[in-house]
């Protein structure tokens, strides 16, 4: 993408800050007014100043990144822009004119459009139907002219470089493509200002690249884009300008050329953050986990893990790298006992664990941090206390016979909350009231805080802010040094590279390569993830 940056319109980088009073008044210089300007936005919620005098402007054709930790006030600000919340103070200007945005439909009418983290699509309708849904300009309001509609959507997609089949049902598309449908919907509605809320949270690195190309294309056509993220390298890659928010205030504005990840992290968190945790030396001892010729089927009955074998020793981290959907989920579920293998063998500490359920594995000393904490890891309507004993509730000291011991559970909760730095008013509030980072810390606290033989981490830091990532990485290293065998599955290649002692690359259900974690080459692993290594192996043989 770096070769494209030369062709960017220069206005995003070279102009005066938009708040400068004469920016729009010099007639001789052709200066476009910001497409959007938010001035001194303040929003109070009971007990919280969510937005404290935030000012932000976005120029036509600019990609403006809004960077901040979870809970910093990014979402509140965007809700105000989208008319979902009313500011207590401040003004919103579109093309230099002050406007009052009454609600989402008003925002859409003014050309503001939002692409949410959770897509607002109807899975059983086709791409074209989703995009045209609610469009009043279609000639016949009851019956859609499918042929014409499909053609229109296809052309629109082509203009932005993606070949989309308008007749495909949205439910059959991957998340990456669903996101493109959302973006296409925004374009179709003539959105001049597009807000993308953490658009890459659900995407693979490859999909992220493709979406970035689309965004750049949109910007080149004059659309203004607000890109919300807490991923530093992404922001540096895609943004023309970066505004950093912390605790409801703007703490800095940067252009990518004059900043780096450390600078941004420091702005965002308010202190020095070690982005890469020092993993130190590992001292592997006895074999804890053996996976031997393992095959696993997915829910549809397809064999998505084929003849996989590896060993993990106590005191080492085996990273499993791979693009999401290459069988990692099923592999992990088989290891932790949530899914029956269709063939092969799993051994934990010398015990045959092939057909054990989660409870038995837990008793043998297995802990598991699931990728989807809302689905598997937590009961959101439960208190932190109940969540912290979710896997131990039945055993002493948390229960005597069938009677639970509330006092013992509570004591454990208070201790774990303290030790793992879960930010919460008390152990009695429900897990659903915590931020994503704190929810994950809660899961980590439950799973790490016991005597362990094997720890399985599935996407342990997905969607978290840098502070929480640092914390979880440190705890992982600590567990390894205490002699726990660790399996780390992550679609974030950087995470695997930073933590693993050995790296296994998974591609189409098979482990195609194992590399040493300290000497592994990022490019090579990336290629292995993308191609399974056939070409690489051929290339190596030739050279």
């Amino acid at each position: 993408m770096s070769d494209e940056s030369a062709t960017h319109p220069p206005d995003g980088r070279t102009l005066e800050p938009a708040l400068s009073p004469d920016a729009g008044t010099q007639p001789e210089v052709h200066v476009r007014a910001p497409a959007l300007e938010m001035r001194g936005i303040t929003k109070r919620y009971p007990g919280v100043l969510a937005n404290d005098n935030i000012s932000l402007d976005v120029k036509p054709g600019e990609i403006h990144a809004l960077l901040g930790e979870n809970g910093a006030g990014k979402t509140t600000l965007m809700n105000i822009l989208y008319g979902l919340a009313r500011p207590d103070d401040g003004a919103i200007l579109l093309d230099g004119e002050e406007v009052r945005i009454a609600g989402p439909s008003d925002a859409i009418a003014r050309g503001i459009s939002m692409v949410h983290q959770h897509f607002m699509l109807v899975p059983v309708l086709t791409v074209a139907e989703n995009i045209l849904l609610g469009d009043e300009t279609m000639a016949n309001p009851i019956f859609l002219d499918r042929k014409e509609a499909n053609e229109r959507i296809r052309l629109l997609g082509q203009r932005f470089g993606f070949d989309i089949d308008p007749a495909e049902k949205v439910g059959r598309l991957s998340v990456g493509w669903q996101q493109r449908v959302e973006i296409l919907k925004a374009i179709y509605r003539d959105a001049r200002i597009m807000v993308l809320d953490e658009p890459t949270a659900v995407l693979t690195p490859q999909e992220t690249k493709e979406i970035f190309a689309v965004l750049r294309r949109l910007a080149d056509e004059g659309h203004s884009i607000i890109f919300i993220s807490h991923k530093l390298y992404e922001v540096l890659e895609i943004a023309d300008r970066i505004t950093v928010i912390r605790r409801g205030r703007v703490v800095g504005e940067r252009v990518p050329a004059d900043t780096d990840e450390d600078d941004l992290a420091q702005l965002m968190v308010g202190r020095d953050v070690q982005l890469i945790v020092d993993r130190g030396e590992s001292h592997p001892t006895d074999i804890a986990l053996v996976v031997d010729h393992l095959s696993v089927k997915n829910d549809r009955g397809n064999e998505v893990v084929r003849d996989v074998g590896f060993e993990v020793r106590s005191g080492e981290i085996l990273g499993i790298a791979g693009v999401a959907g290459n069988g990692q989920d099923e592999l992990v579920e088989a290891i932790v006992g949530l899914r029956r293998p269709s063939g092969g063998r799993i051994e934990l500490d010398g015990h045959d664990a092939t057909h054990m359920g989660p409870r038995q594995m837990h008793t043998l000393g297995l802990s598991f941090v699931p990728a989807d904490r809302h689905r598997f890891g937590l009961v959101l309507s439960y208190s932190l206390t109940d969540n912290l004993v979710l896997t131990d509730y039945y055993a002493p000291p948390y229960a005597r016979g069938i009677v639970r011991d509330d006092a013992a559970s509570h004591a454990r909760a208070v201790e774990a909350i303290e030790q793992f730095d879960v930010r919460t008013p008390s152990a009695d509030v429900t897990a659903g009231t915590l931020s994503g980072g704190n929810q994950q810390k809660l899961v980590v606290a439950r799973e790490f805080d016991r005597d362990l033989r094997l720890l399985v981490l599935d996407q342990p830091t997905r969607g978290l802010d840098v502070g929480s990532i640092e914390f979880i990485h440190r705890q992982t290293i600590k567990k390894r040094d205490a002699g726990t065998a660790i399996v780390l599955v992550s679609a974030e290649l950087d995470e695997v590279l930073e933590l693993s002692d050995r790296i296994a690359v998974m591609y189409r259900g098979q482990i195609v390569a194992v590399r040493d974690g300290r000497t592994a080459d990022r490019e090579e692993i990336g290629l292995l993830m993308a191609t399974g290594g056939r070409k690489v192996v051929a290339g190596e043989a030739a050279s």
Partner: protein, 375 residues
């Protein structure tokens, strides 16, 4: 604690209040048919008669509890389902098979000593109800058959079972209509002599024992924790090593047992025999009770008492205000309507969804798109 209770109660209380308003409007609108002119005081007369007939005398209170007892027990059966993420509409059928089992056993033991006849007849009703709850539970857990569909169907089957047994093997010889024999010594002894209306049989104390027991099971035991976890998040339950399928079977079986107990108490304590054409609406009234009580045992106790009081006061209401007893069905229907359409209640009384938490309603609405549990 108190703040939480107020939050939990805001939705049911709002629904009751709105239902009373709707009832008042209906009464005023129809008052010309009774008095010849619009009578704006008619609702006050009516509601006062309801209160008088259900609360303001010893007899009235006994009558209220007699009416409330089966509602509370079947309400608990529905409520347990809600807690486990299940919508049990089969209270009706479970009540009926429990009733017919108790009637048959009671008639067979009519000559035995009460100390034997009563417990055995009650037990028979509970076992029958439990078996009848086990069927949809097993089907749900191991075949994925939806409990809403199976329990509704089993309600019709139960009616036919009752009709077959009472017109056939259990029919009292020489009776002028199809009915079972009197339960004789298996009848629940009357301990509160209310003089008129229903006798205050000993069975009316049962709900006051069962409610604390269910509360304890749900909130203090590991089994209750498992049940609530399966209801709140079946995937997390599986992950935590629980067995959702077993929990589903147990929740519906145990609920069936409570509904069967309610049927037994009704036969052994109130009617004394079972007619072939036994007609009841209790399965559906119990859904109102469970929703009114927010699926919480104490709430269900209160909800059952409220509906029981309305039934107990209906007679006096008809006499004093000239309002037909069907008014009670209308009020109850409107309460259920507002409970289901909770958005209306929240709008009128300005309570936020987050403050009241409507898990049991989510079970109702989402149960039509449910999936078979894994594990």
């Amino acid at each position: 604690m108190i703040a939480r209770a107020v939050r939990l109660l805001s939705l049911p209380l709002g629904a009751i209040l709105l239902a009373l308003v709707v009832g008042a409007i209906v009464m005023i609108a129809s008052s010309p048919l009774v008095t010849g002119h619009f009578d704006v005081t008619l609702p006050l007369t009516t509601y006062w008669a309801l209160i008088e007939g259900s609360l303001l005398s010893f007899n009235a209170i006994v009558d209220t509890i007699v009416n409330a007892a089966p509602l509370i027990l079947v309400g608990l059966a529905v409520g347990l389902g809600f807690k486990a993420g299940l919508f049990n509409i089969g209270g009706q059928g479970q009540f009926l098979v429990g009733a017919v089992a108790a009637a048959g056993t009671g008639a067979a033991l009519a000559g035995s000593p009460t100390a034997i006849a009563v417990p055995v007849a009650l037990l028979a009703g509970m076992v029958a109800g439990a078996l009848y709850g086990f069927i949809p539970g097993f089907l749900k857990a191991y075949t994925g058959a939806h409990e809403v569909v199976t329990t509704i169907m089993l309600n019709y089957v139960a009616i036919q079972i009752v009709s077959f047994l009472i017109t056939g093997p259990l029919r009292a010889p020489g009776a002028s209509f199809a009915r079972s024999d009197d339960v004789g010594n298996a009848a629940l002894p009357a301990v509160l002599n209310a003089g008129s209306g229903h006798p205050g049989h000993i069975g009316i104390f049962v709900p006051f024992l069962v409610v604390p027991l269910i509360w304890w099971l749900l909130f203090k035991t590991t089994a209750g924790f498992e049940l609530r976890t399966v209801g709140a998040n079946p995937d997390a339950a599986l992950y935590a090593g629980m067995r959702p399928r077993r929990v589903i079977v147990l929740a519906l079986t145990f609920g069936g047992m409570l509904a069967g107990l309610a049927g037994s108490i009704e036969i052994l304590g109130v009617t004394g025999y079972m007619p072939a054409a036994y007609s009841t609406n209790i399965g559906f009234d119990a859904i109102t009770v469970a929703l009114l009580g927010r699926a919480h045992p104490v709430g269900i106790l209160l909800g059952g008492l409220l509906l029981g009081a309305m039934r107990a006061g209906a007679g006096l209401m008809q006499i004093q205000a000239g309002i037909p007893v069907q008014m009670i069905d209308l009020l109850q229907g409107v309460i259920l309507f507002f409970l289901a359409a909770d958005v209306i209640v929240r709008r009128v009384f300005r309570v936020k969804a987050a403050d009241v938490g409507v898990d049991e309603l989510q079970t109702v609405t989402s149960s039509y798109a449910g999936k078979a549990p894994a594990g």
